[in-house]
């Protein structure tokens, strides 16, 4: 079960990245803009731009292994490692969630002290539509905040 605090972070605003790998163990990366944790507290859906989804979806369909990193401007960070379940194009409800997510991401960046000329394009500049919703089951949750506790298995 994903801990309460990690659910909060995933619901954002957080900077999120996805890691996958191919059959030769070559890693791939893409950004996620928004996420939601399902009622079972183990299944997660993340949203990635379609233009950046090709390689990670190919990897996920081949081997199912996914890592999702989520970090705040404060450097508080977590990582989920899990197994691919499904994907679909994002819909209006997803995009509404992403719009709110992006606005909150900008507010958090400004609050953290990022100058406006960096915070705004950084937070609002990630493409998010058209998008793909990737759903996976979280098998493990790790603390990733820099410091001596980084890497601790939380769940």
């Amino acid at each position: 079960m994903i801990p309460d605090r990690v659910v909060e972070v995933l619901h954002g605003p957080a900077w999120m990245q996805i890691g996958t790998r191919d059959e030769a163990l070559r890693p791939a990366h893409t950004f996620a803009v928004g996420a939601m944790v399902h009622a079972d507290r183990q299944t997660v859906t993340v949203f990635v731009p379609t233009a950046r989804s090709g390689r990670v979806l190919r990897d996920l369909r081949e081997n199912g292994r996914i890592a999702l990193g989520a970090s705040l401007a404060s450097h508080e960070a977590y990582q989920l490692k899990g197994t691919y379940v499904s994907s679909r194009p994002t819909d209006d409800a997803d995009r509404a969630r992403q719009d709110a997510y992006r606005a909150a991401l900008l507010a958090s960046a400004l609050e953290a002290g990022y100058p406006e000329p960096i915070a705004r394009p950084l937070a609002l500049g990630f493409a998010y539509t058209p998008g793909v919703a990737i759903t996976f089951r979280a098998d493990e949750v790790f603390l990733q905040t820099p410091g001596p506790g980084a890497g601790t298995l939380l769940s």
């Binding site: 990245q17 070559r26 990366h29 292994r65 999702l68 450097h75 705004r120 820099p146």
Partner: protein, 144 residues
Amino acid sequence: MGILPDEIKPAMQGVIPSHVVTCARDGTPNASAISQVYYVDPDHVALSHQFFNKTKRNVAENPRAVAWVISPETFEAWDLELEFVRSETSGPVFEIMEMQIEAIASMVGMKGIFKLRAADIFRVTAVTKTVGERIPFAEIPGPR
């Protein structure tokens, strides 16, 4: 002439954190933020090794990594495919990175936590400017 274009250099100044994905021998990927991807020469970069973490362990098992860097000037981003070469704990690259990590730590309130243990040198095997990941700068809403 090396593989890294000159235009990528601003993305390697540590202004905006970079990201790195590695993979363990058992096939489990790992996604992590990293303070800096440092430009060593047109064919090599150095990743800051600050903690004995999963990224470090994975690279020991499987030398392949991918790093994502973004320019704070143009907000263009690149994927770098990397292959681990060696770790350096002294010398000019280490010393410059150590100074820069200290500066980054001061700026982000992580002084005493961010400390460079090694400069991990990677050969760049491919560079791809990301397409479709960013909204064109002129189309980003609001004041700039």
